[in-house]
């Protein structure tokens, strides 16, 4: 066991836990954001750099601070480690820089993007971004590509987190897509127009933090905050069959895996559940799904707000200021 202090809060965690996981055990404001790290995927993380934190004391034995900011998602805790996240000015500045970098080539087409409302990049830029850009050069653009009948790749929005690459590696028998090119010309692609076609390919949509990989059966059907999430299950021979249905009235608009507050799926689901079972009669509905994320997705959900609690409980502070005071 290792004792670690994050933003002044002490917690004891298993050896080998990363700083990010330790922070998630504490929860709340001390959790660094993560764009590329994805718990269920082995080897993910370390690429987007938004989870950088300051280690002011390496361990109880070696009390020196670490010279650079470290990526909390891949750095393991040591006994006696002291970490500063939201209390450190350098960390917040670095995070602001990274958000700026992620956004300079992002199209910012949230009004027409299907991911809007449940987009990690949107949440991140609300919390750490600035309202104006200093970038006046042309933005990088790509054409939209269909990866098979169900998935559309909109590379312009991609932040190259590599999550979909790890998903295909670890979930499917053969990976047909990967990162081509390098530097800012790097793109996700199948090289020669290949189809991503296997029973679990749809999971790349769930892991995508932005709107780069979208579900073609759901594209432009509705805005995510107008739909009602319901927990449901069916007896599926290939996967656990435990899903979230996104419905409007009687209509099932889309099916996704169940995600936790960090947008990480609880269990990956198969393509049959995701794309083919779009009738309520296909499913046994368990009840409403509570969406515990800071996105606007939870702004309009149908649970009646408890009195004296702000309507938007988890929105970042900067956004709260703009809301009418009661």
């Amino acid at each position: 066991m290792a004792k670690v202090t994050i933003d002044g809060i002490e917690i004891e965690v298993e050896d080998g836990t990363t700083i990010l996981q330790a922070a998630r055990q504490i929860g709340g404001k001390v959790v660094p954001p993560a764009m590329c790290y994805y718990g269920p995927l082995k080897g993910s993380g370390g690429k987007c750099r938004v989870c950088l934190v300051k280690v002011t004391q390496g361990s109880a034995r070696d009390t020196r601070p670490m010279p650079k900011l470290v990526a909390s998602c891949i750095t393991q805790v040591q006994d006696g480690m002291v970490v500063e996240n939201s209390t450190n000015e350098d960390v917040l500045n670095a995070r602001k820089s990274i958000v700026e970098m992620l956004l300079i080539n992002h199209p910012l087409d949230c009004p027409v993007c299907d991911q809007a409302g449940e987009c990690s990049l949107q949440d991140l830029s609300y919390e750490h971004g600035v309202s104006a850009t200093r970038y006046e050069e042309e933005r990088r653009t790509f054409n939209k590509v269909d990866l098979g009948p169900y998935i559309q790749l909109h590379m312009t929005r991609c932040i190259l987190c590599y999550r979909c690459v790890y998903t295909a590696d670890q979930l499917t028998p053969e990976r047909v897509h990967g990162v081509l090119g390098r530097g800012d010309a790097a793109e996700i692609g199948t090289y020669i127009e290949n189809m991503v076609d296997n029973e679990f390919s749809g999971n790349v949509i769930d892991v995508c933090p932005v709107g780069a990989l979208t579900d073609k059966t759901w594209r432009f059907k509705n805005r995510v905050w107008f739909t009602k999430p319901l927990d449901a299950h069916r007896d599926c021979p290939t996967c656990s069959g435990k899903v979230t249905l996104w419905t409007r009235g009687e209509e099932v608009l889309r099916v996704t895996a169940r995600k936790d507050q960090y947008n990480e799926v609880e269990e990956f689901i198969c393509n049959t559940c995701r794309f083919d079972k779009k009738e309520t009669s296909d499913w046994t509905i368990e009840g409403p799904r509570h969406i515990d994320s800071s996105s606007v997705i939870s702004a309009n959900h149908y649970e009646l707000p408890v009195l004296n609690v702000p309507i938007v409980p988890n929105l970042p502070v900067s956004t709260k200021k703009n809301l009418p005071q009661e």
Binding site: G45, G46, K47, C48, R49, V50, L52, K68, L69, A71, I74, A94, S97, I98, E100, M101, L102, I104, N105, R134, Y135, E137, I159, L160, Y162, G178, V179, G181, R182, G183, D184, A185, A186
Partner: protein, 448 residues
Amino acid sequence: MGLKILTEHINIPGIETLEVYRKHGGYKSVEKALKTMSPDEVVEEVKTSGLRGRGGAGFPAGMKWSFLAKPEGVPRYLVCNADESEPGTFKDRWYMEKNPHGLIEGMITSSYALGANTSYIYIRGELMFVLRILEKAIAEAYAAGLLGKNILGSGYDLDLHVAPGGGAYICGEETALLESLEGKRGNPRNKPPFPAVKGLFQSPTVVNNVETISSVPWIVNNGGAEYAKVGIGRSTGTKLISASGNINNPGVYEIELGVPVEEFIYSDEYCGGIWKGRQLKAVVPGGSSVPILPANLILKTAEGENRLMTYESLSDGGFVSGSMMGSGAFIVFDDQQCIVRNTWNYSRFYHHESCGQCSPCREGTGWMEKVLHRIEHGHGHQQDIDLLVSVAKQIEGNTICPLGDAAAWPVAAAIRHFRDEFEWHIKHPKEATAPGAVYRGQLDTVTA
């Protein structure tokens, strides 16, 4: 003439053949090490010598070797980093081309010291002709029983392979090199674990530069203490310097560390002064990734002491008024050269070579290049200068590997020391973009 450790026999005709090389004392260190020394004794000698990594970072080689994990039943590897791609650096290519057996001898002795039974030379893809020279030399060494099973009857086995890269700068970063050597995309790995614990094929690995490995035979033959006598302080031994730019005698020079920079530039033994009788404007002392220094700061430190060709002296004053030894690529600029254009050129290189894995480097290098391109072509704004400084600062230290730092430092340093020239470019776009236009302001603008 200073002591020549690496280049003593390099101009002898036929030195690239085993016969001539052995006639001039070649492979003596292999015999000495394998027959009379234990591996740990070789490591101790290298530690005593104070030999520092010649690839750029200058980390003590003996220390690096002693960090190598030695778990039972797991193979260890030595990988020679011959992926020399830093703009301005050409010492390793020249050395391997001229004296391939020097490197192979170093590889055998070093592999023995580390207990590696398979070693690799990872060579840059563009250097196909050098690869053929090395392969020919390796075949000769195999035939002479210097490689393979039971080398010289000592019971030690070593297989040496040469692997070409695809010509990517990033594959010179040690973990990206290992990925590439494993046959994967050359993306740097997250550290820890360091290669000394989990490197090539998940086994403990040491990655060393060509020049570092080639210095080992001399150290084994003459003793580490003898090597430590050469040079000044913690900068021991000799170093190959690739001198290029506006000098009379560009080329590779082996210097004893500690030669004054002024002597190196102006003496006929080395660079032979600035060409066409022009004035010195600036020097990049260690390859494109290190900060550029204006004439007054490269010759003398901020305290007014003479600057020497050592790791410590070149980095005296930190990044405010100093630079770095780097890989020893000494690029000299005369007073007719445009710093803005040069900075843009470097920036273009890093934009092209960024692997695209982590966001600050992927997006930031492109951003800096585009802004510098605009300034160079007469479309800059005054606020662009501060923007560049800020973007460079945003990249520095926030990336997975040092390529981000390498991209940020030259831009930040050029603006630090030559801000006036950038401002002139922006204020007078017409004059600045005219053919042959040169900034005529004060040359030694120092804001430090």
